[in-house]
């Protein structure tokens, strides 16, 4: 009896994710309300802005983003660029100093002695020097549109908006199968998932880069939490719990370098999974109790926080189903098996399910990318193992009281930008 109850409960949760994903897909198809980034009376909102770029051993890519920063169309007298050289051992310091010498709006902060403690600590250091009303952060391997700051900043005319998030597109997509699959995930995650959450006024997530905050808000929240692996998810929920909201801006595109091999994919996703689970343990109860969030935001927040537990739930549900088969015959098991299968099959693909990814690829006119969608099922199986490992690591570290997180840096190669720019 107990097994049946647990099995039905797990199936219900899977169905909730299924419905959520289909709602997002349908919103992407049918909801065509554009996002204006001009203020009332067609004025453009342009407060002072500080851009933080943390960099640890990024000699291959740092020059590219700094050069791009000098090409941004945002008024130079209102723009401050702060590069945080976080205990780099390669030529990052030399390259950043050389470029910053030529540009007055650019400042380099070197962390020789107390650096190397992760991105959050580096960003907090940069925050001390930021003078802008809006603080943005970009990772060193990114390449933004020239007018990205205008598109993002315009949304701060709404006083309730505490943070904004732009769209991330993969720069090195043609490199190999890994990058192509990651690109598909990004399409589903941003073009459909994030956009639908913004359109439906749910909880679009700040992704850790290509995004920004009101200066007074980020300072009042105490900056980035260095103990959290997923500092972006943590900040998202802290923004909402403080009574503000995050806006997703689909037109504000930035290009990133995706991981190029399965080992790097493993490390990156393991970090995301573990960090996300940390956030679930930290924010779930405050989220449910908060008076600053509406019911729909709480429901979406609940599903968002627990999304990395889904692959584990899938595995458990399958295990329970098999146990029920062996130990007892049950009408419920038979009835639930069908919906579970539909839910699992439709909800897989690293949390950007097949149909979300397909519609996103179609809307982006990516006809050849659609053919790779079935391979996402294999990626899901890989992610299932990643999530289980992340959960075990987290449980072990909590049980042992060892909260020290090991930061495994993602290597960047500084790929060719011309492919992405040509695709336009």
């Amino acid at each position: 009896m107990m097994l049946n109850i647990v099995f039905i409960f797990v199936v219900m949760i899977m169905l909730a994710y299924l419905i959520r994903h289909y709602i997002f897909t349908i919103v992407a198809l049918y909801y065509h309300h554009g996002q204006s980034y001009h203020t009332h009376q067609n004025m453009v909102h342009q407060p002072t802005v500080s851009v933080l770029i943390p960099a640890h051993d990024e000699e291959r890519v740092i020059g590219r983003i700094l050069q791009r920063m000098t090409e941004l169309t945002y008024p130079k007298d209102k723009l401050q660029i702060i590069v945080i050289d976080d205990a780099s051992t390669d030529r990052t310091s030399e390259i950043t100093d050389k470029i910053a010498e030529k540009h007055e709006s650019m400042k380099v902060v070197h962390r020789y002695h107390d650096g190397g403690k992760g991105k959050s600590a580096a960003l907090n250091e940069g925050l001390k020097y930021a003078t802008g009303e809006i603080i943005y952060c970009f990772d060193a391997d990114y390449y933004p549109q020239h007018d990205i700051l205008e598109k993002l900043t315009a949304h701060f005319t709404d006083s309730q908006v505490g943070a904004v998030q732009g769209r991330v597109t993969v720069l090195n997509e043609p490199s190999n199968l890994v990058t192509r699959l990651v690109a598909l995930e990004r399409i589903g995650g941003y073009r459909v998932d994030q956009k639908a959450r913004d359109d439906l006024q749910l909880i679009p997530q700040f992704g850790g880069t290509v995004g920004g905050f009101r200066s007074h808000l980020i300072n009042s929240l105490g900056g980035w939490d260095p103990n959290m692996l997923a500092e972006d998810t943590d900040l998202t929920f802290r923004v909402y719990l403080s009574g503000h909201k995050v806006r997703y801006v689909n037109e504000a595109e930035c290009y990133e370098e995706a991981v190029e091999d399965w080992r790097s994919y493993w490390h990156q996703r393991c970090r995301w999974a573990k960090g996300h689970m940390q956030c679930a343990f930290k924010h779930l109860w405050p989220l449910m109790r908060s008076k600053n969030l509406r019911l729909r935001e709480k429901v979406d927040g609940f599903l968002l926080l627990n999304v990395y537990f889904v692959p584990i739930l899938v595995g458990l549900a399958w295990l329970f189903g098999a146990m029920i088969f062996f130990t007892q015959s049950s009408l419920w098991a038979t009835l639930c098996w069908g919906p579970l299968s539909i839910a699992v099959y439709s909800a897989t693909g690293n949390f950007a399910p097949f149909f979300e990814v397909g519609i996103g690829a179609y809307l982006d006119q990516r006809k050849e990318a659609c053919r790779l969608i079935p391979l996402l099922f294999l990626v899901f199986l890989y992610n299932m193992v990643i999530c289980m490992k992340a959960f075990l690591d987290l449980c072990i570290s909590k049980a042992s009281g060892n909260n020290r997180q090991r930061w495994v840096k993602t290597c960047h190669n500084g790929g060719d930008i011309t492919w992405e720019m040509r695709k336009g």
């Binding site: 049918y30 088969f325 098996w337 069908g338 579970l340 539909i342 099959y345 659609c370 053919r371 079935p374």
Partner: protein, 117 residues
């Protein structure tokens, strides 16, 4: 979408004579997804109808092959085979949906792109 719905009902009425149970459910799911997710997209109508028909045909073939294998396994009558069928059956039931749908989407996108040129 209305035209898609009419064709989908036609295919389902036709196939309900041939299939039953989980096989029919998968065909039903495929048709519903095609109507909601494919027919509203830009692209030639004939392509959408053709892929709807093709998908239904592939669904029939897939389920007939699968059911044949199950019947052969049942003939052997072993518990492990029954367990494998119970566990993997729903996955193999649905596994053809996404590849067919995504290939159809790719073709539709290509034709729509050519049409615009």
């Amino acid at each position: 979408m209305l035209i898609g719905t009419i064709f989908a009902i036609f295919f389902l009425c036709l196939l309900s004579q041939l299939l039953e149970g989980s096989a029919l459910v998968t065909i039903l799911v495929f048709n519903m997804l095609s109507i909601i997710l494919t027919f509203p997209l830009k692209g030639p109508l004939w392509c959408k109808i053709a892929w709807l028909g093709m998908g239904n045909l592939i669904g029939i073939v897939w389920n007939l092959v699968r059911l044949s294998l199950i019947m052969a396994a049942t003939g052997i009558k072993t518990e492990p085979l029954s367990l494998v069928n119970f566990i993997l059956g729903p996955v193999t039931d649905f596994i053809w949906l996404v590849p067919v749908w995504s290939l159809g989407l790719s073709v539709l996108s290509s034709l729509e792109h050519q049409g615009r040129r």
